[in-house]
Amino acid sequence: MHGPTITIEHLTKSFGEVLAVSDLSFTVEPGRVTGFLGPNGAGKTTTLRALLGLVAPSAGAALIDGRRYRELERPLAMVGASLEPTVFHPGRSGRDHLLVQAIAGGIARDRVDAVLERVGLADAARRRVGGYSLGMRQRLGLASALLGDPGALVLDEPVNGLDPEGIRWIRGLLGELAAEGRTVLVSSHLLSEVQQTVTDVVVIAHGRLVHQGPLESLGGGAQVIVDSPQRDRLASALEAHASVHPDPRGLLVTGITAAELGHLAFSQGIELSQLATVNEGLETVFLGLVGDDTAAVAS
């Protein structure tokens, strides 16, 4: 399987006065899991809906192997999408929802039971969706996306509402799908939710691109929380070697390991009251990128 390439080209979309997406361009390659990240309201859903032909761009284009969604021969067999867990008729069973989709999309009916099995929903399939939990609806959405055995998957916040076991399961699934050569685009407002899954990231804020590249390109690396009775002296000693930010827990230091920092403090005779490595570095870099510094401190 060789999935299609998704290209967003100078996409702009405004709803009345509100500019949701502004001159956004990025590319999503097959065989990778791309995290589409940004805070709520950044324009992620609007971008995905434009890609899927649900929203008409004000300018620019969103293309799948160079074609618009509506130009695809059998769209469900090319792109599988799960946008929100609220797009089901509460009075229709999960299985009937998939059957309708199969008929409408020209997909063989035996795929319905296959995808129900794959997402672990076979037992509940004949019950009405109105009685499903949020996690079950997420699984049904994923089943719809997988129905046409598509080369590309577009999933909007698929982790929302899943329990820890479900989250681990979906991480494994996304990795498998990408390893099969498919194009996988997953949006999230929390980097930490998808950090263990994605290989690439596209970060947007206020409808604009702020970063695109492999996950490692976000940087981050070692971050150290340190504090001292002589905090100001410690800060000025560190500033020559690393970047230092005030933090409720003391000082947040990047660009230096805990061991190096301890040695530095020792050699200058500064007493330390706390020294710890933290692994939320990427999230902090991410929140810094999207301009949400208060949230970075709070986390």
């Binding site: 899927l52 649900l54 509506r70 609220t86 797009v87 229709r92 309708v100 008929i103 409408a104």
Partner: protein
């Protein structure tokens, strides 16, 4: 299989996989059966025995009056199921998966119109089962002639099914224009139960307004079916000009088809094209 055939089959699967279609069909059956039975009693000799004035209708005419209760009171049901088919998608946001499977919105709407025409025809048959089933039984039991071997009556029954078919498509068109499910139900109920009957009664009082009143959808339905409650009232009361000003049956059919086509065209150019957010 062509795209439109696929969209039609998908819409049928959508309709028959939730309960509203048979709930509406059940109410339609009960309502029509009850009304047809009452009406059959009134046009029978029994009605005269109970103190009414003898009704000067021949057996075929009185049988048709009973059988056409399907359309004179029951056309509300196909228009409702049609309007629901178009607006449920927005209410429950199922429009998203629907458009993911078939992004060409015109094809989705065409599939809906065709599928709901079939559902409307089914409602016509359900209505006939109710009106002919109980009506003919009551007529026969009270010593009347059900007239089911009369070719005119048979053709009226066929045109009842056609009228119900067209009303379901009008419902889809109306739903596609209005979009909001609650508002469209209010419009359907207010128009069919209140506005149109008044317009027809008032409009029928003068020759000039009767020329317009006969293009009202309910009047066109009576014309297509070949008589109905209001038209028959006119026949009983010669001072009512409405009976004489009904269109020919095929003109009535064209008027209904015209309403459906205009509503679908307006809907597909307005609400149906909006962004799905």
């Amino acid at each position: 299989m062509t795209a439109i055939a696929r969209a039609t089959r998908a819409e049928l699967a959508r309709t028959f996989s939730v309960r509203s279609w048979w709930l509406l069909a059940l109410v339609l059956f009960g309502y029509v059966a009850f009304t047809a039975a009452i009406l059959a009693l009134f046009v029978s000799d029994l009605g005269a025995l109970m103190g009414g004035t003898p009704v000067a209708l021949d057996s075929a005419a009185s049988a048709m009056l009973v059988y056409t209760t399907v359309t004179s009171i029951g056309y509300l049901f196909p228009v409702l199921i049609g309007a629901l088919a178009a607006t449920t998608e927005l209410r429950h946001r199922t429009i998203t998966p629907t458009l993911l499977a078939e992004p060409r919105r015109g094809i989705v709407l065409a599939g809906k119109a065709i599928a709901l025409a079939l559902v409307g025809a089914l409602y016509g048959l359900v209505g006939l089962a109710a009106s002919v089933g109980t009506g003919a039984a009551v007529i026969a039991a009270t010593g009347g002639d059900p007239a089911l071997d009369d070719p005119n009556v048979i053709s009226v029954l066929a045109r009842i099914v056609l009228a119900m078919t067209l009303w379901a498509v009008i419902g889809v068109g109306l739903g596609s224009v209005v979009g909001n499910q609650v508002i469209v139900i209010v419009i359907v109920l207010a128009f069919t139960q209140f506005v149109e009957p008044i317009l027809r009664l008032v409009g029928g009082l003068w020759e000039g307004t009767a020329q317009f009143a006969r293009f009202l959808p309910g009047a066109a339905t009576d014309a297509l079916v070949g008589g109905g409650l209001y038209a028959s009232l006119g026949a009983l009361d010669p001072t009512m000009p409405s009976a004489t000003t009904l269109l020919d049956w095929w003109q009535g059919g064209l008027v209904l088809a015209g309403f459906a086509a205009v509503l679908l065209a307006v809907g597909s150019l307005t609400s149906w094209r909006r962004d799905v957010t």
